[in-house]
Every structure is written in structure tokens, then in C-alpha cells.
């Protein structure tokens, strides 16, 4: 396979006051695979993807996407290059219908082709199981359904790199199952960077795992390698169950 890494960071660092939320992170995202980013609370996972997506300005370091340095691009330009991002704290358009939420997500690329846009929106709603609720106002949805809507908005963008920050938080067991199925069906065309606390989701989906601890990369490798890694055992896996 050519061009193995779609996304790469070098020395990515974020310092809040005195807190090193991220320190010199060198990271590669493998094309077409699902990479899980795990680590205890406050490890710096959200900070990291915030800098990758352009939401958060790094203190120093670079981000490159498809071989191009994108460190100086604002967030919306990075999304236009083919990233999609779902927030850890649900972020949707509360006063709009579920349909319009997804329509806006798909509409950045498809707005000029009404038929294609309607098709895309309907198809995404169907795939994610929100068709019945298409006309509901987003803020009236249950918490779990709002999370699912946010994932739908990511899907609707047809991203090449899909970044999800704890998407399964607050989902029921069966919804988590659906999510796992969805992720597996996306892998291949889409490269996925998944922040996840739920170890079942990680073990069922991840091709590759990066462990973050106290702002630094503790370990990277296949699930097996991570499982055998003593440092990870000590720092993380031994002390955390499903969160």
C-alpha cells in the first residue's frame, strides 16, 4: 500500500498555563485503518484531536495531512480537505430538525445538487437509524440519539479522515453494537481516529492503538502489542475498566 499515513503530527505540544496537556507528540494515522486513541481522564486526548482538527491552536509542532503541512490552516479549511470531527460534548444544531442537521453536514459539498443532497441525507439517516425521527427538533432527542445524530453529521460529510471523540459515551449497549458495526463498515475507505473509553469498542474495532498518558505517547502498536506492553498494563489497563 502506498502513502501509508494520511495524517502525521510532529512535536505537537499544547501548554495551558503550566500544564503540559500535550508534549511533543509524534503520531501517524494509518490510512484506511481504525486507530484508537486511549488513555486515562485528562491524558490529553481531546487536546490532541483539537489541535489536529484546528479547533485548538498548538503551542508548537506541526500537523500534516495527505503529505501537506496544514499547521496554519483554520479548522474549516481542514474540514474542507476531508476531515470530519465529532465533539466529546455533543454539538449539534439544537433548534433545527434532525433532517436539517444532517442536510447541513452533507450540504457543504452537495448544496448545488438538490437531488444528490436529499439522497445523501436520506441515506445517512437510514444507515444510522434516525429516519423515523427526521422531523423531530434535535434538542428534543434523547441524549443517546443526539450522540448518534452527531455521528450521522460526521458520516454525511463523507470524510477521508473521521475523528470521533468518545462517541459511545451515553449510548445503550445495543447502540454501541450498532456503532461498532458502523465503524467496521466504514474502515477501508475511511480512516478513523477514535477516542474511546469503552474497552469493548476498542478491542472490537481498533487495528492500531495509541496510548496517551499525561500528555505523552506511552505506547503505540497493534492491540496485541499494547496488551502485552508492561508500561500500559501498569499505567492504564490494570486500573481502568469500562468507563
Amino acid at each position: 500500500m502506498a502513502a501509508v499515513n494520511v495524517l502525521e503530527t510532529k512535536g505537537l505540544t499544547k501548554i495551558y498555563g503550566g500544564v503540559e496537556a500535550n508534549l511533543d507528540i509524534d503520531f501517524q494515522l494509518r490510512k484506511g485503518q481504525i486507530t484508537a486513541l486511549i488513555g486515562p481522564n485528562g491524558a490529553g486526548k481531546s487536546t490532541f484531536v483539537g489541535m489536529v482538527s484546528g479547533r485548538t491552536l498548538p503551542t508548537r509542532g506541526t500537523v500534516s495531512f495527505a503529505g501537506k503541512d496544514i499547521s496554519h490552516l483554520p479548522a474549516h479549511k481542514r474540514m474542507q480537505l476531508g476531515m470530519a470531527y465529532t465533539f466529546q460534548i455533543t454539538s449539534i444544531f439544537p433548534g433545527l430538525s434532525v433532517y436539517d442537521n444532517v442536510d447541513l453536514a452533507a450540504g457543504r459539498k452537495l448544496a448545488n445538487d438538490k437531488t444528490a443532497l436529499a439522497q445523501k441525507t436520506t441515506q445517512v439517516l437510514d444507515r444510522i437509524g434516525l429516519t423515523d425521527r427526521a422531523d423531530q427538533t434535535a434538542q428534543d432527542l434523547s441524549y443517546g440519539h443526539q450522540r448518534i445524530l452527531e455521528i450521522a453529521m460526521g458520516l454525511a460529510q463523507d470524510p477521508t479522515v473521521f475523528i470521533l471523540d468518545e462517541p459511545t459515551q451515553g449510548l445503550s449497549e445495543s447502540e454501541v453494537d450498532d456503532f461498532v458495526t458502523l465503524m467496521k463498515s466504514l474502515a477501508g475507505e475511511t480512516t478513523i481516529l477514535l477516542i474511546e473509553h469503552n474497552m469493548r469498542v476498542v478491542s472490537e474495532t481498533a487495528d492500531y492503538i495509541t496510548v496517551l498518558d499525561q500528555g505523552q505517547v506511552l505506547a503505540s502498536g497493534t492491540p496485541d502489542e499494547i496488551h502485552r506492553n508492561a508500561a500500559v498494563q501498569a499505567a492504564y489497563l490494570g486500573t481502568t475498566s469500562d468507563a
Binding site: R55, H76, Q80, S91, P94, L104, R108
Partner: protein, 307 residues
């Protein structure tokens, strides 16, 4: 769309059934409703609360009135100058003010409008300051039609209102309009969907300013008066009240809001000197019991399809 056509048909019909006084009132209402629609685009759809829109109304009004009076422009080029002046002012104000949000944006727009007011006073030699100036009857005819007569005025107001009304209705249905609503609902989300929120907001402000400018130029044209009072804070607050009363983010809300407030003051002033008090109480009650405005509340309670 049928709703919008129906509204225009009603306005057309009113001319034939209303007594002269109310025909005059409705000429004014339609012009002010253009202003309210311009404001609504920014406030109701994009979610940006400006406290300085009078500067755009004034830019349109003076752009029209000064070019007529000083350079002898005829109606069409003078009118166009008014629109361009308002749009250009909106571009400059937007470029600077849109770096802020929320309360800071309110204050910055207020300050800009105050500056415009002071500039008008400063150039009193040409603008005649607070006193203002009259645009002569002879200079207020277009294509051979004298726009000072009651009938001509009503139809000129109706035509300009109709153009703006239909254009705004179309605009908010287009992808551009939906993106403005997205910014109102959740700007950060819009940005993380790849929308250039800063640019969209600037475009919204320019269009909003231009429409407000059309209202100002129309006012100067149809009522023949240009004065600094139209650039005071009061005239920045009015469109906010109209839109809040009628229903922010609805296409017919601005018109309804202007009609409601106009007659509220008109009728209560017939009974008492304290008519502003009555108007104030009515506004407070409405805000308490129909916080979405008249049309907004109707939409929520009964007619979810209202645009």
C-alpha cells in the same frame, strides 16, 4: 411562496379599502418593514444582535439625499448610491466588528452608529444636522411618475417592499440562508462542518446593511425628508423591537412587528398622553407571553410550516 404572494395581494387590496389616513400609514409601514427585514437577516437568521443598524438606514438615506441635493443626481443613480453607501459601510463595520461577538458586538456596532451620527452633525454644512433637509418634489419623480402623491407613494412602497420581501424569502431558503441559521444555532459546529463562519457572517452583514440602506433611501425618496434623527440610537432599537415583536427568523415577522407597533402607538395615543407607557406595557407582556414574537409563536403553536 404562496403565503408571500398572499401577503402582497392583501397589501395591494388594502389600498382600495383603507381610508386615506391608513393608506398613508401603510406606505410608511412598508418602508419601515424593509428596514426590519434587513435587520432580521442579521439578527433573526444569523443570530447577531446589532445595536447600530440606524447607521445603514442613514447611509442609504444620505447616500440618496445628498447626491440629489448636492450633485443633482436623478432618482435612480441617487438610490443606487444610497444602497452602495450602506453596503460599503457594512463591509467596513463588519470587517472590524465581527472580530467580536455577543455583548461586545452590540457595543461595537452601537459605537459605530454613534460615530456615523456625529459625522452627520459634523458635516452640518451639507447635511443640515438634526434639522435635516427636504428633497424637493421636483427631484422625486422616477420615469416620469411624481412619487409625492399618495397613490404613487403607496405603490412605490409596495413594489420596493415586494422586491425585498420575495428576495429575502428566497435567500433564506437557499443554502446560504441555511448556513446563516447554522451559525445562529451553533457557530462552532458550523465551522467544524467546514463552513467559513467569518465570511458568511460578513456577507450576511453586508446584505443586511444594504437592505437597511434600501429602506433609508426609499424613506428619503417617498417622504422627501433626510435628517440626523434617523441615525440615532432610537432608530437602531426600533428594528430590534419590530423583529422581536413580529418574530425573529420568520419572513413575515418583520412586517407584522412594524404594523403591530405602529398601531399600538397610534391607537393608544388617541386615548392618553401616556401612550408610550401603554406601548411599553404591551411590549413587556408580549415578550413575557410570546417570547418568539407573534409569528414565531404562531409557528410554534399551530403552523410549523411558516417560513
Amino acid at each position: 411562496m404562496t403565503l408571500h404572494i398572499a401577503v402582497l395581494v392583501v397589501l395591494l387590496g388594502l389600498f382600495f379599502v383603507l381610508p386615506a389616513y391608513h393608506v398613508g400609514a401603510f406606505s410608511r409601514i412598508m418602508v419601515l418593514a424593509i428596514y426590519a427585514m434587513g435587520y432580521n437577516l442579521l439578527f433573526g437568521y444569523t443570530g447577531l444582535l446589532s445595536l447600530g443598524h440606524a447607521m445603514f438606514f442613514a447611509a442609504g438615506m444620505y447616500g440618496f439625499g445628498l447626491t440629489v441635493n448636492l450633485f443633482g443626481f436623478s432618482v435612480a443613480p441617487a438610490f443606487l448610491t444610497g444602497i452602495i453607501a450602506a453596503a460599503a459601510l457594512a463591509l467596513i463595520v463588519g470587517y472590524l466588528a465581527l472580530r467580536t461577538a455577543g455583548v461586545a458586538f452590540m457595543i461595537v456596532t452601537l459605537m459605530f452608529a454613534q460615530t456615523v451620527y456625529l459625522v452627520i452633525l459634523y458635516f452640518g454644512e451639507y447635511t443640515r444636522g438634526d434639522e435635516g433637509f427636504v428633497v424637493q418634489q421636483a427631484q422625486r419623480s422616477f420615469a416620469g411618475i411624481d412619487l409625492t402623491g399618495e397613490t404613487e407613494r403607496y405603490f412605490a412602497a409596495l413594489i420596493l417592499f415586494a422586491i425585498c420581501f420575495l428576495a429575502v424569502a428566497k435567500l433564506v431558503q437557499m443554502p446560504f440562508g441555511k448556513r446563516l441559521v447554522a451559525i445562529r444555532e451553533n457557530e462552532e459546529r458550523a465551522r467544524m462542518l467546514g463552513y467559513d463562519a467569518a465570511k458568511l457572517k460578513l456577507h450576511a452583514l453586508i446584505i443586511s446593511g444594504a437592505v437597511s440602506g434600501i429602506a433609508g433611501a426609499t424613506y428619503g425618496l417617498l417622504f422627501g425628508y433626510v435628517g440626523a434623527s434617523f441615525s440615532t440610537v432610537q432608530y437602531s432599537i426600533f428594528p430590534l423591537l419590530w423583529v422581536l415583536l413580529g418574530g425573529a427568523g420568520t419572513t413575515i415577522g418583520p412586517l407584522i412587528g412594524v404594523i403591530f407597533m405602529f398601531y399600538l402607538i397610534d391607537i393608544s395615543s388617541g386615548y392618553t398622553d401616556a401612550y408610550l407607557l401603554i406601548a411599553g406595557v404591551a411590549l413587556v407582556l408580549l415578550t413575557l407571553f410570546a417570547p418568539l414574537g407573534l409569528v414565531g409563536t404562531l409557528r410554534k403553536r399551530a403552523f410549523p410550516w411558516l417560513p
